[in-house]
């Protein structure tokens, strides 16, 4: 049981013992838990060492990002769905609080914005051309085209 808790049984023995424990043998389970507890106590003899402050700073920053993400998901589920729908197929949907997703979203929308702008320009120039043609017709008395 100690070898099992230490992770040093052969594959076959490990599978057999795992099955045995799953079957619910109270004696073996008790022995296994006691072995695990003994092994887990070994590092308690280590002298605690102060880690660099930067580790905690990075960790807490990551946790703050998680919290913002969770808050975003909790408060604006509809917004998350809209953004998910706008994404290209295969791109996973994440919270809008995930700052890294906005540049990707903008990049996906950019071609559509450009097309819309070109269409607007084309319509505008067509209108301008029509009014210029009318102006010339009026000024020179040219009959309008049928």
């Amino acid at each position: 049981m100690l070898s099992f808790a230490l992770g040093d049984l052969e594959q076959g023995e490990r599978v057999d013992l795992t099955e045995h424990l799953r079957a619910g043998c109270p004696t073996c389970e008790s022995a296994w838990r006691e072995s695990e507890a003994t092994i887990a106590l070994i590092p308690m003899g280590l002298r605690p060492m102060e880690p660099p402050k930067s580790v905690k700073e990075r960790l807490m920053a990551e946790i703050d990002r998680d919290l913002r993400r969770r808050a975003g998901e909790a408060t604006d589920p509809a917004g998350v769905q809209i953004i998910a729908d706008l994404r290209a197929p295969g791109v996973s949907a994440t919270s809008p609080a995930d700052c890294g997703s906005w540049p990707r979203l903008a990049a996906q929308l950019l071609p559509w914005i450009l097309v819309a702008c070109l269409l607007a320009l084309w319509l505008q120039s067509r209108q301008d051309f029509a009014s210029l043609e009318k102006h010339l017709q009026d000024a020179h008395g040219v009959p309008a085209k049928p």
């Binding site: 070898s3 280590l46 002298r47």
Partner: protein, 190 residues
């Protein structure tokens, strides 16, 4: 390092309580970091392992079951498992970037960065140190290789240039001895 409020703190962490998480980190970062350094023997990867362990505590806090053991036990088990995974992934023998003396002082030293931080932790550490001190050198070295480096019994035998059967006996007897000593000393909480 059992604290009466550790389980309650973990329960708050599971609900996304940042302050509770910070208390758990402050309480146990020294222990987890020393274990990470002992396993990996490299400060940079030990930093990463420390962050990985606590990030897993934050994101998978539902995995902690207070009925199965103390928070300290959960953390050291998680750190050992992830640390040995890293060692195996690197597929190399641990690079000794920390002197053996420093490693040994981490094992048997008596100073903590903040002695007031964790009195019950110090008490438990005292019990474990007393129990470890009663192991003979053969048992201790075999156990340390198996525990900290995740070596199989065969690998330990090869490393120590001893017969496999002898190493198995040393590990088994060492753990039984440790368990009995801790039981006698009243350190049954893990």
């Amino acid at each position: 390092m059992s604290h009466p409020d550790d389980a309650a703190l973990m329960s708050r962490v599971a609900q996304g309580d940042r302050a509770a998480f910070e208390v758990i980190y402050e309480r146990y970062c020294g222990l987890v970091y020393s274990l990470a350094l002992r396993i990996l023997r490299d400060a940079t990867t030990a930093d990463e392992l420390l962050a990985d362990v606590f990030l897993e505590v934050w994101r998978r806090s539902d995995r902690y079951d207070a009925t199965r053991g103390a928070v300290a036990t959960y953390l050291t088990t998680l750190c050992r498992s992830r640390g040995i995974d890293r060692l195996r992934a690197q597929k190399r023998a641990p690079v000794v970037q920390i002197g053996d003396d420093e490693v040994m002082s981490a094992i048997i030293g008596s100073e903590t960065p903040d002695p007031a931080r964790n009195l019950s932790g110090n008490e438990q550490r005292g019990r474990v140190l007393r129990a470890l001190a009663t192991l003979n050198e053969d048992m201790r070295s075999a156990l340390e290789l198996a525990f900290y480096e995740g070596l199989s019994h065969s690998q330990v035998a090869e490393r120590l240039s001893k017969p496999l059967g002898t190493v198995k006996t040393h590990i088994r007897q060492g753990l039984i001895h440790l368990r009995e000593r801790l039981r006698m000393d009243g350190s049954g909480d893990a």
